[in-house]
């Protein structure tokens, strides 16, 4: 219990990955409306500018499953590595910092089966090596459960193995909730000291190339914020406004979205 972080950084994926799964088209004005609803107030904006969070930043992205890489990006593993070098050169030409590496399908793949823990650790090593070739010191490695294979146990095992080999890297989790494990997996990450999460308001999203029948997408932002705040972990998010944004997201896509707290309500007014 003592391993829980005091605060976490939550990256909202709704307007990016969230909408890509929807049949659409969704009018740009409505997308802007959701982004406005999700946006922070002036003070938050000032803090974001101070943190540099509004700057572009690049990442080095590998995929643990070649069959998925071919379907998702039409590239082989070798082609993808060459592409990462090209992207880094492009980032560097434009003065865009590269601080993050990411691994898709880090917990398993609908096309290739289980992902071995050693494969993930090897892939982090490859990303670190690629970074070093360009004099980049990575700060964050993001592990993506692209096809919702992770359990809390595998989260702990993979995060533990990566941390043991690369103790200086911060670990981020990009979790999908397709099989209902998203919040439990986030909790397992928190117990391992993970302090950075991607999520999507109302649970928008899902990967269009992942061959899922169900619509469940990213782990739900307001449910994640609810869990963290109820456990005393600061998120910087305003849960009541996130719930409003989640309802707006449902209105925009025109069908129910999977998040729970927008239905069950927060506990803010009920604690005594």
């Amino acid at each position: 219990m003592s391993d829980l972080p005091q605060s976490v950084q939550i990256n909202e994926e709704g307007p990016r990955e969230g909408f890509q799964f929807e049949r659409g088209p969704i009018a740009t004005a409505r997308k802007v409306e959701l982004i406005d609803a999700l946006s922070v107030n002036e003070k938050g904006l000032e803090r974001a500018i101070a943190c540099g969070r509004l700057d572009l930043s690049g990442s080095i992205s590998l995929t643990a499953s070649e069959p998925f890489l071919e379907r998702n990006q039409n590239r082989s593993l070798a082609d993808n590595i060459a592409m990462q070098h090209n992207m880094i050169r492009l980032y560097q030409r434009h003065g865009i910092p590269v601080e993050r590496g990411s691994i898709m399908a880090a917990f398993g793949c609908n096309f290739a089966g289980d992902t071995a823990i050693e494969t993930v650790v090897d892939m982090v090593e490859q990303i670190v090596d690629i970074a070093e070739e360009h004099d980049i010191v990575l700060e964050v490695i993001s592990l993506a459960d692209t096809m919702a294979w992770a359990t809390p146990l595998s989260i702990k095992q993979v995060v533990g193995a990566v941390r043991e080999r690369f103790p200086l890297l911060d670990i981020a989790l990009h979790l999908h909730d397709t099989r209902g494990m998203g919040i439990a997996n986030a909790y397992a990450g928190l117990e391992m000291g993970v302090g950075i999460f991607d999520s999507a308001v109302a649970g928008l999203g899902g990967c269009p190339f992942a061959a899922h029948r169900g619509a469940a997408g990213n782990v739900c932002t307001e449910d994640l914020v609810f869990m963290c705040e109820e456990m005393g972990i600061a998120t910087g998010g305003d849960l009541e406004r996130l719930i409003e944004a989640a309802r707006l997201a449902e209105d925009i896509v025109g069908h129910p979205l999977p998040g729970s707290v927008k239905l069950g309500g927060s506990l803010a007014a009920l604690h005594r």
Copy 2:
């Protein structure tokens, strides 16, 4: 991680607590159809008979929140204790064993706010005392998150406190998923060595007296079985048949139910 049990016992609440939340009426034949779909095969039935699981058994049930007890059962705390003594006498007159105690609203209440950990421990003590007055040795204490206030952290804190005081009692968890924490809370229970869970197929249910706007009910059986089996914890459940039963439950109630694995699918055919 080493605290995870090797196997768990899951009690299906769909036909009992699950249907009570539905507007209905639901034809008895359709209820029987669901029970049949959830039922075990002959071998399982023989095992169940061998375990005595088909016998009636009684329980001693207290509620941590008096305002909720009044709404739910129209009784004061004192009336409820008197009623438990009456029930035990009735059980004993009919030779029905009493092995279980349970505490409703053990993690918080929409009408009374947070439930103090000491209140829960005191209530377990009251239940044990009531049992002793009737020469009963309790085996299981069930902690119910009736109004979905629990987080994985509070699960660990409350289970830890009860276990510390009553190390010989098995602890069961009755979890609701109204705020999306059900599976994460079950995982926290597993990490504390809890080996008995109530759940409802497709996530049927919810308490009609809990003043919830949302429909999310009990933690979903097939999602819980998926998590356990994927982590190597035996449940005795057949996930593919549970998924079929979950789809049948949706057909019976005539609206979508919250479980995820019935949409996302199991991983059985995808592991390699």
